[in-house]
Symmetry: C2
């Protein structure tokens, strides 16, 4: 998967900004790649990008139409299809984060074939992976792990990667979810891989590299989450991480989607992640904590960071407000 940029961001008739959350993440992290947005009649989402037609997007150099928006009811509506078909004819590749595959829509598949365009269904890995080998490989790897799902692992990974780049370190961001894949221009939706190959897909994603190169691998889920822990462990083993960063959202009252499950204690979560990571890399350790404090009142934010830093003995930052400098310092 090698999605060409720049992008024209397709928002369809998204009813609100939340439906365009993926596109919004891409536009925030790759402002240089996102030249414009294409909105159909009735669209109520806005990325703050110039509105463009397909023609204007092409003129601005766009190579890929990125569908980073949720569709309603699992059906791709006809007015979206019209735009996507025209885009293929005009010269765009299309990269989609929809559950429904573009490649399963006959008209799109045949237009793509006919015109030599590519369709990327980023939620649906198409390549065959091997079973993980587990053998030690050169290069350094950092993986974000979480007390829960959706606590800022992608954001923290990107902030760390950005800091590494600013410092002139050799570093790559390795995406494991749809938003991250658009931001990286490639990656693997590890939660959509066949179970036997979770770790193998992760090994493929962050392979051997220069000894002083860091792969910053986007984590998924949590070892403590009853729905997704298998994915998290497969990723932890496949990444063979040297450094882990624990991500946390302190206002959660229970694990996402699981009302009966309290969040794990931070020290416990750190210990379990280190223990499982050390099965494949004895040097693995949690080197810092990244806390999403956006839901705390302003006067509580710094206090909570200080409390967690004291409790864990690890550098603790809100990567959004403060950047990831202290996490990179800790490596």
């Amino acid at each position: 998967m090698d999605i060409r940029n720049p992008y024209l961001m397709f928002l369809g008739d998204a009813p609100d900004d939340l439906a365009a959350k993926v596109a919004d993440g891409v536009a925030k992290w790759r402002p240089d790649w996102c030249k414009g947005q294409l909105r159909l009649e009735g669209c109520r989402a806005d990325l703050g990008l110039p509105d463009m037609t397909l023609e204007e997007g092409l003129a601005a150099g766009c190579k890929t139409l990125v569908v980073g928006v949720a569709n309603r009811g699992g059906v791709i509506p006809q007015n979206w299809r019209d735009s996507l078909e025209t885009a293929l004819v005009m010269g765009y590749d299309i990269a989609s984060g929809l559950h429904n595959k573009l490649a399963d829509i006959d008209t799109l598949a045949s237009l793509a074939r006919e015109h030599g365009r590519r369709l990327f269904d980023v939620r649906h890995p198409t390549q065959d992976f091997e079973v993980a080998k587990g053998s030690r490989r050169p290069g350094k790897r950092l993986l974000t792990v979480g007390t829960d799902c959706s606590v800022g692992k992608m954001f923290t990974s990107l902030a760390i990667h950005k800091t590494m780049q600013e410092r002139g370190m050799k570093a790559s961001f390795r995406a494991t979810g749809q938003t991250g894949i658009f931001i990286a221009g490639g990656g693997v939706s590890v939660d959509a891989v066949i179970a036997d190959f979770i770790s193998g897909a992760t090994e493929w994603l962050c392979p051997a590299n220069d000894e002083d190169h860091w792969d910053v691998v986007e984590g998924q889920g949590s070892l403590f989450h009853a729905s997704f822990a298998g994915v998290s462990l497969g990723l932890l083993h496949g990444a063979q991480a040297d450094a882990l960063v624990l991500c946390h959202e302190p206002t959660r009252t229970h694990l996402r989607g699981l009302p009966d499950f309290p969040l794990p204690d931070l020290a416990h979560c750190i210990r379990v992640n280190e223990e499982m990571a050390r099965m494949v890399n004895p040097a693995a350790r949690v080197i810092g904590v990244s806390v999403n404090t956006s839901k705390l009142s302003a006067d509580r934010q710094d206090a909570v960071l200080a409390e967690i830093e004291k409790e864990t003995g690890l550098p603790t930052v809100d990567a959004f407000r403060q950047g990831a400098g202290r996490l990179v310092d800790a490596l």
Copy 2:
């Protein structure tokens, strides 16, 4: 999946008994279901069952032709196809453990449709699973876990289930791999499920039941195995097991397929499995150890069992030689 029995066991032209390992397991555990074997010219495997033609199998009451044999080079040869096509026309369903799907072979798929037969590709789950809910459900569940892959988890599960049945306990064997699925007449190959749904598929496999009913769930892999631990953890969480039985093969010098990985220490393996299991069921504990002593010299077998029993403080048996009575006693 609800595979009808009795079975006619299709061995094709298997070059040796190892190639018919799956069929052999089925014949051993379900002698009443396995009425005969169908061998093509050149077959060198033998289950010790009466040789039957398709006609003779039908006359003996067989309802399903079971393909429990490895094919060579990932291709289903023409002479196999001829037999499978004829079987469908004559009245058989076909259940296959091949990597290649029968349902992908046009002639077989259309014959099955035309004649109202069913094709079961047991390695390839076809139903859609939900994401695991994690909520506590009634009924008791026992899961076999391992220090490694292929250490006797299926065998131990079946021995426990058999003992429970002999004692008049309410119990079901829940299969998670191809041999187990043929033996149970249904199940899910959990390692072939999309990663997000490992735990959800397991919840589906062993759902709510009577308070005094035991589901005996066949484990897969090991939390310590760098290739497959994600599957093992998803299964551990989805099973929400009350009781775990640790399976072990004491002559292994390293994890299967991973020369750099020593086997975990038993006490460590017990602690980690209990810790991860308790995330979804705080009452979970390892209640016994099942050791495959077949590769030890006869004079060492009992000594090794006694050593492990002393080391772990848990009832330790070789379920093959001694049955699972002491494990069921420990519940």
